[in-house]
Assembly symmetry: C2
Homo-oligomer: 346 residues x 2
């Protein structure tokens, strides 16, 4: 008798859930096509491409309908979801950590590249080689327990500010892209970050900044080593051993490793995202590939050879990438023309 | 006006969803504590440990309440979710593939270990060394496009049968464990497989066999290589390069790499799962660690030194593991005593 009542309650609960899901879906669809989704986007081909993609993949009557579990969307982070100029945020973090590391290992004090970083000479720091940078990353990102790193990175991200806006880095996320993330999630897409940045670093703040949980962040990853402390308690140490360089070809390889399915939609802003967009586009059915073009020097930055602007160390958008986008019907997002505002505080 | 209507519809939809979720949760809790959850389990400490863990972590009034996003549960596969005797299923797959590989590369025909496998001599095959086995795994699991592998593995898993039961391998999943997976998911846990087996292999059937999507399968993983076919279409090739050996210490390392959080619950059955359980147990708050003991020779198998039974090549449950389980309050599941039935077809 008791179990019979429970069964009846369960059935009516399930019926109610189905009903409300149907209603919510209808609501979302009504909003999607009528009530102005993506409010920070100007009307135009970029906004339309997103809305069209969501419609054809989530309308059950559409020949391009995609089942809920196959709705995977991947986003590059630096320059696609937040500001990457003048330096990748994680590089700023690593430079900021150098004094702490040197305090722990005084023998580094007079050794390059640490000496240059400690000097505070910006011009000299800007000229550091990739190999120098790698040495700094290894010294500041590895050799400590995972949880020690997470604690330090969290403290930093909650206090360090971008010098141009004097705001926390997490405030420098692009409002139009936050709306795309939410819009896709409203329609049942699982949103992933696929970043050239450090996986462990981005996972520290991705939930708060983007609503993306740690397990949906794929990034450049080093190995860890399992061990025990003096009380026998196990912990993982971050090792200076590269497992995944999540740039260029490493992006589809990282997607296969940590997601195991081909994305339906992919967003990037540089040649480092090229292979991720190609891989996404090579699947059948509806696919959406988009590239953010930094062409708004006033509200953010303008850079990259595709616009005849100087090549910089970050987020390189080459002419070849631009040509491939045109040839393969990827959509280029003009920050200047497609976005009503750049940041939530605008 | 239109948008106002949409807003009101949206609000009532949301209210309805909240209401139905509350109701469903109440239903689940009622079922969990009254209407006999885990029906294939006998009453006893193992079943009670699972029910108690779910109650204290999901009841909002509990001091050990765990937020929804932190509800992660990890399961070893071979010997924990399905039969691993007399050989790991994936090893059977690889041995079955040898004739195909040799047909493509005739030079292997008279070379060991391929010659022995082709001979069909079971005793000789059983004596192959770990190095021989590794060579067979590399020859049969790498060197082809990811999608070719997935197609072959899918065809095999849908047709190959276990010789003792003459049933598909996916039918040899343990019914009591399928109930645990579902029970945890009903209470908002995200269920993951963390297997020493090949990540790509298990992902082929995990959704159908366990209701676990590819992105929630962590396993031993090789690298892939991005490239283009003659028409310029990109694809990934499985490379003979080990990225993650997801056994022993590799399990917590793999969990950190692909999930990025410490599990709340972990299930295993052998020394290969020891570190995963230790790592899970080292977190604060409520944690559940369980080990399946194969002590039912009649309905399944009985093996392992912890029972004074012969050591075998698969799923080794040592006396030391048993002692650690007792010391650290991990729960040992006796297949013989705790499970009413082993398989769905029993």
């Amino acid at each position: 008798m008791k179990s019979d009542i429970n069964r009846r309650v369960a059935i009516s609960g399930l019926a109610l859930l189905t009903l409300s899901q149907t209603l919510l879906s209808a609501v979302a669809q009504a909003q999607g096509t009528q009530a102005a989704p993506l409010p920070s986007w100007n009307d135009g081909p970029a906004k339309q491409a997103i809305i069209d993609f969501v419609r054809v993949t989530t309308d059950q009557a559409s020949p391009k309908f995609v089942t809920a579990e196959d709705r995977i969307a991947t986003f590059d982070q630096d320059g696609t979801l937040w500001v990457e100029h003048p330096l990748y945020t994680q590089v700023v973090y690593c430079l900021d950590r150098v004094p702490v590391v040197v305090a722990q290992k005084p023998e580094l004090k007079n050794r390059e590249p640490f000496k240059t970083v400690l000097s505070g000479n910006r011009e000299a720091i800007a000229k550091l080689s990739l190999r120098d940078l790698e040495e700094i990353l290894i010294a500041t990102l590895t050799g400590m327990p995972v949880e020690t790193f997470q604690g330090e990175a969290k403290k930093w991200i909650e206090s360090a500010k971008h010098e141009r806006w004097n705001r926390l880095y997490a405030e420098l996320t692009y409002q139009p892209m936050l709306e795309v993330l939410q819009y896709l999630r409203d329609y049942g897409f699982k949103t992933y970050i696929v970043t050239g940045g450090g996986q462990d670093f981005v996972r520290v703040y991705a939930q708060q900044a983007y609503g993306i949980p740690p397990e949906q962040v794929v990034g450049t990853a080093g190995g860890t080593k399992y061990g025990y402390d003096k009380d026998g308690k196990p912990f993982l140490t971050k090792e200076p051993k590269l497992l995944l360089n999540d740039n260029n070809a490493g992006k589809p390889e990282g997607i296969h490793l940590e997601i195991g399915r081909r994305p339906r939609a992919a967003f990037g802003n540089s040649t480092g995202d090229r292979q991720m967009l190609e891989y996404t586009g090579a699947g059948d059915g509806a696919r959406l590939m988009m590239l953010v073009l930094h062409d708004d020097a006033q509200r953010e930055y303008a850079y990259g050879p595709a616009q005849g602007l100087p090549d910089t160390k970050v987020g390189i958008f080459t002419q070849a990438l631009y040509d491939e986008a045109k040839k393969d019907s990827w959509t280029v997002i003009s920050m200047k023309n497609d976005w009503k505002r750049i940041f939530a505080f605008d």
